[in-house]
């Protein structure tokens, strides 16, 4: 490849007559430009930001308290209507109340929309009290009804609002992804860095360890490790224990990428140049290696989050991860593990499943876009 073939992706900066460059394009901006070209990745990123915001403001976004019960057990989702039974259009959306009957054969509840009960939907309604960020007392909710009830995603066997539980479950499921990935970043950089820095038998040993961990089927190993978490621990301890279990395996990909890039970068001429003009080892790592490494590491992490979220869901689903009273998407799925529930009350598993799939999908799209953007100088 000739040197002239490296035309920059972005238009060259224009210099004004007084010689001051109008626009300096930093590599970071180049990456952003490249990322922005992936519309799906940008949309996914916005979706994820909204999802994480919703977990922070869970009490506000959820219309009810996750533990409060209504008389409607196993009620399916209520559809939002703009047109009433007479065909008249209302600007204010509303929901119908439920009329419950029982299936005479199975004795399971059957709900029919009761057109005599209309509950108009409002934004910023007053509802059940909650503590914002666990500190501030509040009772305003993003949406809801003044009278009656509104279950956007249906209710479970205790009549608890599933949408509310999904929002609170997101707090656990989404934070598991981020925190575990952060833990595995620390582990991966530490171990990968040691591996690359010292080389020799330490490097060899760590490489074999990583190979061994990759060869072990993930879910069985996760199960084995999760078995060690004592049943009688309080939910918070269990939560952290599961975090550790998940990161104990996922650090390997970070370490592999970090080590590989580290070794490749070490051979780059600009690192040689820095050695020749006498920059110290620490300085070379901090100013030359790490900044060029980080974008790749971030991409690896983004692509590792889906695996971790699925891991938490799978473990909790199998009953060895998080357990009630903790609410996570996996726990919600576990409650619907019975064949009867799968068959008769599909909203109970479709809700959490849709949440897991859409978040995983979004992370995959963002990771895909970020991977292309991580190397902004390639075409």
């Amino acid at each position: 490849m000739t040197a002239e073939a490296t035309t920059p992706v972005a238009p060259a900066p224009v210099a004004t007559s007084d010689g001051v460059a109008v626009r300096i394009i930093s590599p970071r901006r180049l990456m952003w430009w490249k990322f922005r070209k992936h519309k799906l990745a940008v949309a996914s990123a916005i979706f994820l930001i909204l999802a994480y915001l919703a977990t922070i403001f869970a009490g506000f976004v959820a219309p009810y308290d996750p533990a409060s019960r209504s008389r409607n057990l196993y009620a399916p989702p209520q559809g939002i209507n703009f047109v009433d039974e007479t065909g008249q259009f209302h600007l204010q959306p509303f929901v119908y109340g439920w009329k419950m009957t029982r299936d005479l054969k199975t004795l399971s509840p059957v709900y029919v929309a009761d057109t005599t009960q209309k509950f108009p939907l409002r934004l910023f309604v007053q509802g059940e009290p909650y503590k914002l960020f666990g500190l501030i007392d509040a009772d305003r909710h993003l949406f809801g009804v003044d009278e009656g009830y509104f279950h956007l995603a249906g209710t479970d066997h205790f009549g608890r609002d599933l949408f509310t539980r999904l929002v609170y479950g997101a707090q656990i499921s989404l934070s598991v992804g981020i925190i575990s990935v952060f833990l595995s970043l620390v582990l991966g950089l530490l171990i990968g860095g040691i591996s690359g820095l010292y080389g020799g038998w330490i490097d060899n040993f760590i490489q074999r360890l990583i190979e061994a961990i990759i060869a072990i089927p993930t879910i069985p190993l996760w199960l084995g490790l999760a078995a060690a978490v004592p049943r009688d621990w309080p939910p918070l301890y269990q939560y952290f224990a599961i975090l550790v279990v998940l990161s104990l395996i996922s650090w390997t990909s970070t370490a592999r990428v970090a080590r590989g890039r580290f070794l490749a970068l070490r051979e780059q001429d600009f690192v040689t140049a820095a050695r020749v003009y006498g920059a110290s080892q620490t300085r070379i790592i901090a100013k030359h290696l790490v900044p060029n490494l980080m974008s790749y590491v971030i991409v690896t992490l983004t692509l590792a989050i889906p695996g971790i979220i699925i891991g938490e869901t799978a473990l909790s689903f199998l009953g060895v991860g998080l357990k009630v009273p903790t609410v996570s998407w996996g726990v919600l799925l576990q409650e619907s593990q019975k064949v009867q529930i799968i068959q008769f009350y599909p909203w109970l598993w479709i809700g959490p499943a849709a949440c897991v799939v859409s978040v995983v999908l979004a992370f995959n799209f963002v990771g895909d876009g970020a991977r292309d953007a991580a190397d902004p100088f390639s075409r």
Partner: protein, 325 residues
């Protein structure tokens, strides 16, 4: 070739050793030694004499230090003595012998299914890059990558009930459950197994298809393809003759990642579909902290993965001499 095989098996032994250490860590992790948990599971009815406890402790050398304990466990393991399951009151080897064949009978066909389906789709997608079909395939691939196996299994159960009115799951349909072996029963079993293979394979197909597409696209942008085209070779012959052959071997070498993922998938899907592989056994063992059984299952599954990868690596080197020995 022989040299490569020797070097590679040396590496494999080291990996096996590291895996055994990890499995031993899994045994050691739960608080309290396992004789305690053994006694706990026996509390119902059986009377355990003090002698039996001491015998148990010394059999596994629990009074010795951890390295000795590991070594005793590992040498026992190599002789096929994997300890006993407290829960089932049988030797681990016995239990594995019962369940493992089915795990393999599902995983191996799944691996074949994954590559047989993913490679042609990947080729098609790459050759018709940016066509509506390519977009559709890529999109569906992304979706299936995002849906974990056990969710697909749940969806399958739901669809089976809702649209076909039948129950999904188990190795046999209810009418064959207790029936003696017959052609019908075998066909029924194969039918249920192929459903499992389909469910487990989806994620692998989605991932492998993307790799194949990417590899082939890289290859198609090479100059020699242009040259061959200029010479007037017909498009399909041109693509199948070299680029596909070049692109396939790195795709096949992903088996080191695909195989563990498939075994994971088999175990969790079998749990949902209630198929008696090692999966439900492992889950039970983990739930009741029957750690010898759990660790042995993890160990054996991992070893099978390592051996599978080893064999496919050798086949790959044999088939593709360009791979550096």
């Amino acid at each position: 070739m022989l040299n490569y095989a020797i070097r590679r098996s040396g590496q494999m032994l080291v990996t096996v050793f590291v895996i055994s250490v990890i499995a031993f860590v899994v045994i050691q992790l739960p608080p309290g030694d396992f004789v305690n948990s053994y006694l706990a599971t026996l509390s119902g009815g059986n009377i355990v004499t003090q002698d039996a406890i001491i015998a148990l402790r010394s059999q596994f050398g629990l009074d010795e230090n951890i390295v000795v304990q590991y070594w005793r466990w590992f040498t026992n393991l190599l002789q096929g003595n994997m300890g006993i399951s407290f829960q089932y009151q049988r030797t681990v080897l016995d239990l594995l012998g019962e369940r493992l064949p089915l795990t393999l009978a599902i995983t191996i066909p799944t691996a074949i299914f994954v590559y047989l389906v993913a490679i042609p789709i990947g080729i098609y997608s790459a050759v018709r890059q940016y066509s509506p079909t390519d977009y559709l395939l890529s999109f569906v691939g992304f979706i299936f990558l995002a849906i974990p196996n056990f969710l697909i299994a749940i969806i399958a159960i739901y669809i089976g009930y809702r649209y076909f009115g039948g129950s999904v799951g188990g190795l046999f349909s209810p009418e064959y459950e207790l029936a003696p072996w017959s052609l019908g029963k075998v066909l029924n079993m194969l039918q249920n197994m192929s459903l499992a293979i389909l469910i487990i394979g989806t994620g692998g197909v989605a991932a492998t298809m993307r790799v194949m597409r990417g590899m082939l696209l890289d290859e198609l942008s090479q100059a020699y393809v242009e040259t061959a085209r200029a010479k007037g070779l017909s498009e399909w012959r041109l693509i199948m003759k070299y680029p596909v052959r070049v692109a396939v071997s790195p795709v096949l070498s992903t088996i080191g990642f695909v195989l563990p993922a498939l075994i994971s998938g088999t175990e969790i899907t079998a749990t949902v579909l209630n198929i008696p592989t090692t999966g439900p056994l492992l889950l039970n063992a983990v739930r009741s902290q029957d750690m010898f059984l759990a660790a042995s299952i993890i160990f054996v599954l991992s070893i099978l993965t390592v051996i599978g990868t080893f064999i496919s690596d050798l086949l790959l080197v044999w088939a593709d001499p360009r791979i550096k020995l």
